[in-house]
């Protein structure tokens, strides 16, 4: 168990990136419409986030500087502020979606309407951020989120035709009835969500919270190499479940309860119970990640004191920011908006935030004044540059694709 807890930061970070409420539904949508033909995007995304999360963790361990501090330092106030606004809006939209997502998950467990759960969910998130020690928080949510492994188990229980799944994943055809535009829209959306910037904000700030130093580089690498591939694997399992059960029946996935249908078919009530625990933990974990990230980004840009390792009076504006974020989230949800839809539009802001986040990380990871002898190696830099180009292309393509396809409709 101790070994498992050592990678809790990576697991929790990956849950927020790959398995938040928007991703839970999107993965099923993608599976039910495209089968596994977009699996390659998840693989590309996992490699990318591993690469940059590890860089951000290494910068934090070597210099004590979290990612938004280096964004401000290297890009200056203008480009830094542009990134801050975009990233902050992504955080806030995702936080809103997650608070709603916790309520939707609790509704599945209790059949009490989500409206009643929203204040409870928001209060719970705040209480954990306010009072619970960092490692307890990441261990509990990270471990409970692993209940989603039930989706991977379900794939086996559904006795799929493995060779046809493999063919789908490897040849990546655009399915009949889908246009190339929607295919690429979902490709960009999946990629953007795998590499969503709050993962590196959270991971690097978590490294500072846990007081990592150069001695912890191996642990950082382990967190990255366990957490993100696990997140990617569960994304693929969700998509495969949907491809096996929902695609043949032409079910159009629009809600969280439909995501459970394949699980019910494969494993009955017990499996559904596991999945619901996983939903609650994953949305709660994603809410913690995005809630804390609203505080991290703002505090690090302005140089305020931040961190859960300090008592709240020693990081006053950091905690106030998070409280305001949660109040805004409740206000938005009170309008009755569908939480799943809220995350869809964060793709627009990712177009600004992704390049302006990953460029400074790549540059500072090469700066000997920060890194000493732990600067990037040649291979890391080559792959990093390739990804920077992919990120740029995805960022430029995101908004036109979104408009052209009506957000993948």
């Amino acid at each position: 168990m101790k070994g498992l807890f050592a990678v809790a930061l990576g697991v929790l970070t990956a849950i927020g990136g790959f398995l938040d409420i928007g991703d839970l539904v999107t993965s099923s949508v993608v599976g039910s419409r495209f089968g596994l033909s977009l699996a390659w995007v998840v693989v590309v995304g996992v490699v990318g986030i591993c690469l940059f999360a590890q860089m951000s963790g290494r910068v934090a361990a070597a210099s004590g500087r979290a990612t938004f501090e280096i964004i401000r330092e290297r890009l200056g106030p203008r480009a830094g502020a542009a990134n801050l606004i975009a990233s902050f809006l992504i955080n806030l939209m995702t936080l809103t979606a997650e608070v709603g997502g916790i309520a939707l998950s609790l509704q599945l467990a209790s059949s009490v309407a989500p409206g009643a759960w929203i204040p409870v969910a928001a209060f719970g998130v705040w209480l954990v951020i306010w009072r619970v020690k960092y490692d307890l928080m990441e261990n509990v949510t990270g471990m409970l989120g692993l209940a989603l492994v039930v989706f991977a188990v379900a794939v086996f229980l559904l006795h799929p035709d493995w060779s046809s799944l493999a063919t789908q994943a490897l040849t990546s055809p655009v399915p009949a009835g889908e246009s190339a535009g929607t295919y690429w829209y979902y490709a960009v959306a999946l990629f953007g969500s795998a590499m969503t910037p709050y993962e590196v904000f959270f991971f690097s700030s978590g490294a500072v919270e846990e007081k990592w130093t150069l001695k912890d580089l191996a642990q950082s690498r382990l967190n990255v190499l366990v957490g993100f591939p696990l997140g990617g694997l569960l994304t693929l399992a969700l998509a495969a479940c949907a491809a096996l059960v929902l695609m043949p029946q032409n079910v159009e996935v629009t809600s969280l309860s439909q995501v459970l249908l394949p699980i019910a078919q494969a494993g009955g009530k017990l499996a559904v119970a596991f999945a619901i625990v996983g939903f609650v933990a994953a949305t709660f974990g994603a809410a913690l990640e995005t809630g804390l990230s609203t505080g991290y980004t703002l505090a690090q840009f302005f140089g305020w004191s931040w961190g859960k390792f300090r008592r709240p009076t020693r990081a006053a504006r950091f905690h106030l920011t998070i409280m305001i974020g949660l109040v805004i989230a409740m206000g938005v949800l009170a309008t009755g908006v569908d939480p799943v839809q809220v995350t869809e539009y964060s793709v627009v802001f990712s177009a600004i935030a992704l390049p302006l986040t990953y460029l400074p990380i790549l540059i500072v990871a090469n700066d000997p004044e920060y890194m000493g002898e732990h600067v990037n190696g040649r291979i890391t830099n080559v792959v990093g540059m390739v990804y920077l180009v992919i990120i740029l292309v995805a960022a430029i393509a995101a908004i036109p694709l979104m408009i052209a396809t009506g957000a993948g409709a």
Binding site: R65, P77, W130, Y134, F302, G303, T313, A316
Partner: protein
């Protein structure tokens, strides 16, 4: 590094070199215990007489690290009114690394009055705010 590929002469530096924008601007400022205080939003340097010959004049020094309104004008342009600038005098700087370390405590820095206000009027009054997380 030059167009012509010629080697320019290198001057002799009799001390540590700090390029203001590179090493100081936008860096995190920490107090004596490592607690974040602010970012270095701008620097106040000794006056240069405008339009006059600098013959024989002393080299301007860094007088203070600035905070607050100095940031907004760097984003949107213009010039901050001098009276609204919050200063940390250079004599309080202990070291410049990936962060700028001070010799004094965060609470003794004028620029942290907003942090102290939020702490005293909001955070301190919420139960549990004064304790370490459990």
């Amino acid at each position: 590094m030059t167009d012509e590929g010629e080697r320019l002469p290198r001057p002799e530096y009799r001390g540590r070199v700090l390029d203001a924008a590179l090493h100081l601007l936008d860096r995190q400022v920490q107090d004596v215990h490592g607690e974040p205080v602010q970012t270095a939003d701008d620097l106040e340097i000794g006056d240069v007489p405008v339009g006059e010959s600098l013959e024989g004049a002393e080299r301007p020094r860094i007088l203070a690290i600035l905070n607050g309104t100095a940031l907004s004008t760097r984003v949107v342009g213009g010039r901050p009114p001098s009276s609204t600038l919050e200063r940390i005098p250079w004599r309080h700087v202990a070291d410049v690394g990936t962060a700028i370390r001070l010799t004094i405590e965060a609470d003794d820095v004028d620029a942290t009055w907003r942090e102290r206000w939020v702490r005293d009027h909001i955070i301190r009054r919420i139960p549990g705010g004064r304790h370490d997380p459990e």
